[in-house]
């Protein structure tokens, strides 16, 4: 590979390498397969090459945002975590990924973005604190609208709103799904023997979020905590493949600031300074224009005309 792969991902919190399922899946897969990545952890989706997170920037093929496409791209570069799987295990991988996407994803969208209490106290707060100014004012509510629309279309219910009945149905499906995963995992370390595969990455992406984020309405978390092998599975992957996050875990409140500035480094800081300068200038100018200082501009134009006349006149006089 000529150019290194660059991955843009939501930054982490709560002892997780990222706060977004899809980013977690991609990160876990990359660690499992040993992909060398230049990692940009950010809280600004507009800074990614595709406008969403996660995004993979490759040298020749452009950028990708869907986790499945990113994983295919990793495989093209010969980093394959599923290399050792038999054909039947490959089939099981597809099937269980479908199960998780159909049953667990809607509940996770609901619990993070639609449930009003969780959204206001945790999701919006985190995004408001971390997304850079001025995006943090409208991006969280924009993301919420997107997720709600997505959930409505997935469930085929145009009028879906936060409510007890919807919640019950979604959580019932999700809890059943967790039970099934727990039964399938049994007492083994990973889903297929001793080394992790793409199915482990997918399951980890969903369950780690459920396990680690402390939500005021945490039925999913309570249920997951009752399934010992799944919680063990998640913490295993965290300790084995993301040891640095665990150290930062307890002290994440303090470490967020330095972490962000570390990763955003020099050029970003300068860019921020420039941006704020432009913003201040823009605000001052528009204030000036709006409050009738426009006349000053007219005067200045006339002034310059006068001075031009003078300067045109003077050489003429000299000629004569």
């Amino acid at each position: 590979m000529a150019a290194p792969l660059e991955l843009f991902s939501w930054k982490g919190s709560w002892g997780l390498p990222s706060v977004n399922t899809e980013c977690l899946i991609v990160l876990a897969y990359a660690r499992f397969a040993g992909v060398p990545l230049k990692l940009h952890k950010t809280a600004n989706p507009w800074g990614s090459p595709t406008g969403t997170l996660p995004a993979l920037k490759t040298g020749e093929d452009g950028s990708f945002s869907q986790p499945s496409k990113i994983i295919i791209e990793f495989r093209k570069q010969k980093y394959n975590a599923d290399f050792d799987l038999s054909a039947k295990e490959g089939a099981d991988t597809l099937a269980f990924i479908s199960l998780v996407e159909e049953k667990l994803m809607p509940a996770l969208i609901y619990t993070l973005w639609v449930d009003p209490k969780n959204y206001v106290e945790v999701t919006r707060r985190w995004h408001g604190d971390n997304i850079p100014f001025p995006l943090n004012f409208f991006l969280p509510s924009h993301m919420r609208r997107q997720q709600l629309a997505r959930l409505r279309l997935i469930k085929g219910n145009e009028a879906l709103e936060a409510g007890e009945e919807v919640e019950k149905e979604l959580y019932h499906d999700a809890q059943e799904c967790m039970d099934l995963l727990s039964q399938r995992l049994g007492s083994s370390k990973f889903f297929f023997g001793d080394s992790p595969s793409s199915l482990d990455a997918h399951v980890f992406g969903y369950l780690a979020l459920v396990l680690k984020i402390k939500l005021p309405c945490g039925q999913l978390q309570q249920h997951l905590q009752s399934l010992d092998n799944l919680t063990q599975f998640c913490s295993n992957i965290l300790t084995l493949y993301f040891p640095s996050e665990l150290d930062e875990g307890p002290a994440h409140k303090i470490s967020i600031q330095p972490e962000a500035s570390d990763l955003d480094s020099g050029p970003n800081k300068k860019r921020k300074q420039l941006l704020s300068l432009f913003f201040a200038l823009g605000a001052m100018l528009s204030y000036a224009l709006l409050t009738g200082i426009v006349s000053v501009e007219h005067v200045s134009i006339e002034d310059s005309r006068e001075s031009q006349d003078i300067s045109e006149g003077q050489p003429g006089e000299e000629d004569e």
Binding site: A91, A95, E101, K103, L153, G156, K168, E169, Q183, G186
Partner: protein, 273 residues
């Protein structure tokens, strides 16, 4: 169907035995029904036949609007109405008819996972081909879907449906896929099913389960439905064990009904039987 209603239904259901006059409703089978609805309907019929529960198939032009969840097929049993395979399986279970009792925990997990695989990939691919491929939508799906209605309404309903499906494809990230990629996905899904089935009679040894019914419904319908091109059926035909699996289920469970209901499915199906 909501969970509370579901719990209520299953409570009610346990009390009564399966009646003789149970009815399954689906859109008009000759001129209206589309591939995806036909597949779902056939899956439910196969499931009920596997359970040896008699059901009369009734075709209604407005079946979709009669269904409590807006999806076909649905069954009317006694004084209850249940739609889609998942809830119907639960409903029959409450009445004491179940195909997956003999499975252990891991097998049950696998069964559910493969059922979601069929729903997630095959069903979505069918919907995509029906409504997002312009030639199929224009030549087959819209005219068939709106066939019972007269002019202004037929257009409105067909485009409304197409719009709805396309928005759903957007939400699940399929909108950017090309037709070729969708065929590739179908291939991948069939590959997985074929691997899982191997040389067994049914997906879990000698006993059919709801997974067998679901796979049969979709594969059989894909093989026997004429679309603008044969590409979809050709992808599926490559898997010989899935073909013989469909033939086997058809022989075992649909033999006597072959003259009446299944014969209409056989517009192009000499390959099976």
């Amino acid at each position: 169907m909501s969970l509370a209603a579901e719990a209520f239904v299953s409570q009610m259901a346990a009390a009564e035995p399966w009646p003789e006059n149970a009815t399954l409703y689906q859109p008009l089978s000759d001129e209206q029904i589309l591939l995806s609805d036909n597949a779902s309907s056939l899956a439910v019929q196969a499931y009920l036949k596997m359970c040896a529960l008699p059901v009369r198939v009734s075709c209604r032009a407005n079946a979709e609007f009669m269904s409590p969840s807006g999806k076909v097929p649905f069954i009317h049993v006694g004084n209850q109405v249940v739609s889609e395979l998942g809830p119907i399986v639960q409903f029959t279970k409450a009445k004491g008819h179940s195909l997956s009792e003999g499975l252990d925990d891991v097998q049950r997990a696998e069964m559910k996972a493969y059922m979601e695989l069929v729903n997630n990939m095959l069903l979505t691919a069918e919907l995509y081909i029906q409504w997002c491929d312009d030639s199929t939508a224009g030549e087959i799906s819209r005219p068939r879907y709106s066939s019972p209605y007269s002019w202004p309404l037929s257009h409105i309903l067909a485009y409304q449906k197409q719009w709805e499906v396309r928005r759903k494809m957007n939400a699940i990230g399929w909108a950017g896929k090309s037709l070729e990629q969708v065929y590739e996905d179908v291939n991948e899904c069939c590959q997985a099913l074929s691997q899982r089935l191997g040389t067994q009679l049914y997906f879990f040894n000698k006993q059919p389960t709801e997974l067998d019914a679901l796979v049969f419904g979709h594969i059989f319908t894909i093989l026997t439905t004429r679309l603008t091109s044969d590409a979809l059926a050709e992808r599926v035909k490559g898997f010989s064990n899935l073909l013989s699996f469909c033939k086997r289920i058809e022989q075992t469970f649909f033999e006597e009904a072959d003259q009446s209901s299944a014969s209409s499915l056989h517009s192009k199906g000499p390959s099976l039987l």
